[in-house]
Amino acid sequence: MKKSKILMFVGVLLLGSLFVLPLWNISLEAPQYPEAIGMNIHINKIADMNPSDIKNINIMNHYVGMKDIPEVLPEFKIFPYVIIAMMILGLIIAFKLNYKWYLAWFIVMCLLGTAGMYDFYLWEYDYGHTLRENAAIKFQNPDGTPLAYQPPLLGTKTILNFVAHSYPRSGAYLLFTGMLLSLIAFFQGKKGS
């Protein structure tokens, strides 16, 4: 088998790790939480970083009128199928089609990834901005608008007494690696042809 084919094959298989490993993590540090609490985001669920973390985040967030973190988002029903579809497609490409298709697969993955991140941002925006009218505590920005509690899409941000961290986790790193391999496979194939 050609080297490019193997690279493409391995790259596609790495997507499978998303069914086991978390994609993303949002954690919160505060004086009262020296050990940080947080959640791991998988392609099909949001899970506790440590036992009962999500419950504790909800308890704290209810003071400012935030909604509970859902265990399952509607997107979680679709994501696994998208991943499976891309894996099947990728394997067909790897075995049957030539290197030019590797690039096509890579570009589709990039588009899907961007769409996923945008969707994630929309959820974060809604989660951080939609507050109950009768919240016990209402904080305002200096301009008088209600304070938002949106966690960062990527990076670290201070929200009141919390420092929120939002970073990719092992699943995402393997996903990126897989995509990178498909790109390398493309150049390898191009060089060989």
């Binding site: 036992p51 009962s52 419950k55 504790n56 308890i59 704290m60 003071y63 009768n134 016990a136 505590i137």
Partner: protein
Amino acid sequence: MKNIFKKALLFLLPLGIFTACGTNNSKSNSALAEGAAEKVYVKPGDHDEFYAFVSGGFSGQLAVYGLPSGRLFKVIPVFSQDAEKAYGYNEETKPMLNTSFGFVPWDDAHHPDISQTAGELDGRFLFINGNNTPRIAKIDLTTFETTEILEIPNSAGNHSSSFVTENTEYVVAGTRFSVPIPQKDMPIKDYKGNFKGSLSFISVDPKDGAMDIKFQIIMPGFNYDLSHPGRGDSHGWFFFTTYNTEEASTLLEVNASQNDKDFIAAINWKKVEAFVNGGGGKKMATNYAHNVYSDETHSATSTMRKEVTVVDPRDIPGAVYLLPTPKSPHGCDVDPSGEYIVGNGKLSSNLTVHSFSKMIKAIEAKNFDGDAYGIPILNFEAINAGTVQQAGLGPLHTEFDGEGNAYTTFFISSEVVKWKLKTWEVIDRKPTYYSVGHLMIPGGNSRKPFGKYALAMNKITKDRYLPTGPEVTQSAQLFDISGDKMELLLDFPTIGEPHYAAGIPANLIAPKSKKFYALEDNKHPYAVKSEADTRVERKGNDVHIYMTTIRSHFAPDNIEGIKVGDKVYFHVTNLEQDYDVPHGISMIGANTSELLIMPGQTETFTWEPKKVGVWPFYCTDFCSALHQEMQGYVRVSPSGSNTKLSWSLGEDIE
């Protein structure tokens, strides 16, 4: 040495024996060496190196300190009711204090000891004795809560207790006072020959630590004062000091001080165990309480047990011997190798050390000096390993550093004396402030002492702290024993009268400490696991409130339809699943304490409303930013009125 002895005597006479006499009464701070503060300073946020579990004596409790800082972390309620934690007040823990005498919400807690595996501390459980109404308690060191209390029948003044064998096969309970066994109405003057002393061997289940009296040895009517297990070669033996071998029954101060030598009773418990396993011993009818607390139901049950196996030592040849020991010995301490048994004669100025190997040889050679009630008395010279001459006044208790050195406390001359095993020479002495009782080196009662610190527990403090009226604190003093000379580092106040302590490296316990109780494992019969399930039920005059707490409200928070004459049970479940987030609850006029409910736990208190009105309850533990808002009301109607039973949360808002 002689000088100190004479000087001490001079002080003794005018002041009277057994009051605090400072023979070393140089103004104390000068005793503190340079750099002591740095050695005990634990930076804010840093953790101590050792846990010290210090008995609370007449407080009935056990205090947890950090070493070297001396900071108090927790008072664990054991034998006494504790309003701070609702222990002995809530319905769940009341059964823990049940005895054959009924509810006894106090005891005199003396000697803590930590469980061992292969002669080393394993940090699973801690045992402590209740002296007054004989009991042994077990504390679970993942929760730092008392989880089992076993009453000891045929016993009185459970003092030579609660020490464990090398693999925690047994924890012992030895009677200080001999009594008629079984109890009966008889003249006290007929004590001699008729009263008996019981030594109880309580088996500890290796899986869950469950305690059970395996057998009681019915000994002659001496006073059994302290004890220690053998280890190494002497594993399988247990040693108990005795006093009042005169068997006097009045003015013991004089009458129990007549014999030049009392005894250390050496018990070959493996022999007795084999005898009992082979069907030996007698089943004796009796009545004693066995109380067990479950972390699943968050409740205790008390069962009355009706039988105990008793054995007569004369029926088991070779199981029990008496080692002559001068003079009214208190401490009975076995060195880490198990070879040396130190008997501290309170009224002697010498320390007598017995040799285990010589003891075995003397037994084989039948080198006896008669017997007491059929129990052979071994020849003193044949078993004596050596004597520490004129080490001080009033030796009480000895610990070991694992480096061949021993440390003995001297009550009357108020000092700790360091001496060497095998050569029996005194190496160092340091004054204590004042009247030191016991001493603790972490791991002291094991094959592996952690010989870095020694903690002396003092009876009297007088000029050491700001005065607090006639009652001043008792205290502990920390010595650095890592060098040739002991160095006083710190003294700190203690709870009650500390009798003994057990110390252990923090890393053997801290990683296993529980952070909260999983709600899904809560099997309390009145637990509710969501607000949707909260309710109020009436059964005649009993009203059961199934309530939950979470930051920052109770569910329900308004309850109506309670009547004067009702008995109201508040069953409260804390729905939190976060470390260090308990909630409390108290009810105006309740004749009990508040509850302090750990995350995931259910607790119950009862309230019998006596007055018509609308009465508030509230959270007693500052739990959140809106803690002050965490409250509710109960409407109490006249008895016989027809106010409907109802409950609600937030309904008039939305």
